[in-house]
């Protein structure tokens, strides 16, 4: 089969979609695409709906091409992708829940985000249905001797987000984990429709709290691409500065929490102190500990003063002085290594099939990082490595985080050394006609995808936000298989998937 770029020419390429091409596909093209996904030739980056059509975001690694494919479904049905390519399963169940579009042949008839509590059915369809779906949910059937089930959640024992895990165990060994998510579905995409850029940006920045910078960044880039403008150079640098601070804070938190889940509290205590220092520096430099709402379409809202720059340089020196001791402690503590090495392994073929972003992918041999692969500004000017390992276990996910903290520290130093002067923000032009775009930004967890359609007058007609967790959660189900129940917190924390970003 031809490369993605050439294949797209068979359909109608939309003129208003930037910067990646979008093609209106025929059913034949849609089916050929499913075959290319199932054979591993292309990767699925996202699948989302509108009242009368479905879209897929695709990546052709050989071609280094990314594109969107659209299928009109006037009959409100389309050939299921998930039937042949499992990574699409939950996405298609969600599209059915929200829009009422039926994937023909989808093997799973159960709702995913819709638990029967919304008072309506298909809330984002042109005409929502007044009868909610049945609240009963059938977990996968269990057969066999000596099996027992452990239901966990949605309210968990720790201070974390809600979701339900149904473990089936034989003695200590987990033979199956089935997840049920959707508890924190807030209807963000519904609220975005018709919103102005200000309100929509606030919603984007509240999609997943730990990635508020990355979501703000991705939404801003999508708006700018749709309107054909770019943020000023100083704003581009400040955005990356905030994004890397956010990455360091989250990776520090995860590194400590993973060790804590192996009952090694000392590293957690020190990581929590370093994380607090990052957040305080963020507050001193940008006026908010999580740097929320600092990135907006057109630029950034907050400048950094010389005090802020001094504070960040001091932070870099502080982390560089103390972090290596923690890494050494992790590496030299046999009892800790015993818990993380060979635990929760994601098999290589599943990494190829699901194409997960972030440390889940990069710990399993997938060298994909949109800062490198798409090199959006200012990452095109920065010198950095993308660490990749191939064992796919908890230990590898820890090491990817450690190496990424080191890379981010180096990137921040480069950003401060080359910080351009000038404006923070441009005035956005007002669209005279409908315009569309897609943006990908590397959050700490992986690539965040934002697809956007703006109406004339800059109102959001439709915005889809795809969290990296969509392609990571299913792999957690696979990774825990044959591990003991007691290692689940460790595996779960090493993935640290987002509930809110996924449930939306």
């Amino acid at each position: 089969m031809a490369g993605l770029t050439e294949f797209l020419r068979k359909g109608d390429i939309a003129s208003s979609h930037r910067p990646f091409p979008r093609t209106a596909a025929t059913v034949e093209m849609w089916n050929e695409t499913i075959a290319a996904l199932a054979s591993g030739q292309w990767q699925l980056l996202g699948l989302w709906g509108e009242p009368d059509r479905v879209h897929m975001a695709l990546r052709d690694e050989a071609d280094e091409a990314i594109a969107v494919m659209t299928l009109d479904c006037p009959s409100r049905r389309y050939p299921s992708v998930g039937l042949h390519h499992p990574p699409a399963l939950r996405l298609e169940r969600s599209v059915r829940d929200l829009f009422g579009l039926e994937p023909i042949g989808l093997p799973d008839q159960r709702g995913w985000l819709d638990h029967g509590n919304w008072d309506i059915r298909h809330p984002l369809a042109a005409r929502p249905d007044a009868t909610p779906i049945d609240k009963a949910y059938a977990f996968l059937p269990i057969e066999g001797d000596g099996l027992h089930q452990i239901p966990v959640g949605p309210v968990h024992a720790g201070i974390i987000e809600p979701g339900h895990f149904r473990f089936t165990a034989n003695g200590e060994t987990v033979v199956r984990l089935e997840q049920r998510l959707g508890y924190v579905h807030k209807g963000i995409e519904g609220l975005m429709a018709g919103a102005n850029l200000d309100a929509a940006g606030k919603l984007a920045a509240r999609t997943s709290g730990d990635s508020t910078v990355a979501y703000g960044f991705a939404f801003a880039r999508a708006v700018e691409a749709a309107l054909g403008v770019e943020a000023p150079p100083r704003a581009r640098h400040l955005r990356a500065l905030m994004a890397e601070l956010e990455r360091i804070a989250n990776h520090l938190g995860d590194f400590g929490a993973i060790c804590n889940d192996a009952s090694f509290a000392l590293i957690q205590a020190h990581c929590a102190v370093l994380r607090e220092k990052v957040l305080r520096t963020a507050h001193a430099s940008f006026g908010h500990r999580l740097m929320r709402d600092r990135i907006v379409p057109g630029g950034v809202t907050t400048d950094i003063g010389s005090d802020g720059i001094t504070a960040i340089r001091a932070l870099l020196a502080d982390i560089r002085a103390h972090f290596p001791d923690l890494v050494e402690l992790y590496d030299n503590t046999a009892s800790l290594q015993d818990r993380t090495v060979t635990t929760g392994t994601v098999k290589a073929h599943l990494v190829r099939q699901y194409a997960p972003g972030g440390y889940v992918g990069r710990a399993g041999g997938r060298a994909f990082d949109v800062r490198r692969n798409l090199a959006y500004a200012p990452y095109d000017k920065l010198d950095f490595d993308v660490p990749v390992l191939d064992t796919g276990d908890v230990n590898a996910r820890v090491w990817i985080r450690i190496r990424e903290i080191e890379q981010s520290l180096a990137m921040i130093a480069q950003l401060l050394d080359s910080l351009p002067q000038g404006a923070l923000r441009i005035d956005l032009p007002v669209a005279h006609e409908l315009c569309e775009s897609m943006a990908l930004v590397e959050g700490f967890r992986g690539d965040i995808l934002v697809w956007l359609r703006l109406d004339a007058g800059n109102r959001v007609a439709r915005c889809h936000l795809r969290d990296p967790s969509w392609f990571q959660w299913p792999l957690l189900e696979a990774a825990i298989e044959d591990n003991i129940v007691a290692d689940f917190p460790l595996c779960n924390k090493s993935f640290n998937c987002s509930y809110s970003g996924h449930d939306l």
């Binding site: 807030k186 209807g187 509240r206 938190g253 987002s498």
Partner: protein, 173 residues
């Protein structure tokens, strides 16, 4: 590891002095406290955190309460794993319709006397998610709320001030 432990022994404590209790919060919780409850609990409270639909931002800052700078446990405040062990529910988020029942059940499982602290702007009235087909609204739309700590998310220090006000009001019986 020995080196790290030794350094921790000789270095100054990172823990900061307690902030004054939040006056507004003191007034707010004052009404909610019965004398009997004050006698029974003394100066110690167990807290169960419930995310009823938040973006996870509030959870990150609640987590920070446990780090060496804020050291929540020195005040007799600690997080527990079950609502059955809790005196206080700290609830975040706009309550989603999919979490409503779980929140109600958690509240029902918490023994009396109990207090509910709603954390964050969304927990007051749904924040920017109010009006969605999937959202009930603020926490008080589902369970009675005794104290509200505003912010998006509230910084740990603000949460500490609110919790200390609750503690003070209980102790002053």
């Amino acid at each position: 590891m020995r080196k790290l432990l030794f350094q921790s022994l000789v270095q100054m404590s990172l823990t900061e002095p307690a902030p004054p209790a939040d006056d507004a919060a003191l007034r707010e919780v004052g009404d909610a406290l019965a004398k009997a409850a004050r006698r029974r609990l003394g100066r110690s409270l167990s807290i169960r955190e419930v995310d009823a639909g938040s973006c996870n931002g509030c959870e990150l800052e609640i987590h920070a309460l446990g780090n060496a700078y804020y050291d929540l446990e020195r005040f007799g405040l600690r997080f527990v794993a079950s609502p059955r062990h809790a005196d206080v529910l700290m609830v975040t988020g706009p309550v989603t319709k999919n979490m409503r029942m779980a929140l109600e059940r958690t509240w029902n499982a918490t023994p009396n006397p109990k207090w509910v602290v709603a954390v964050g702007d969304c927990a007051r009235d749904g924040g920017c998610f109010a009006g969605s087909y999937a959202v009930v609204g603020g926490v008080s739309a589902v369970v009675p709320v005794d104290l509200h700590i505003p912010g998006c998310p509230p910084p740990p220090l603000e949460m500490l001030r609110g919790l200390l006000a609750l503690l003070e009001a209980i102790a002053k019986a």
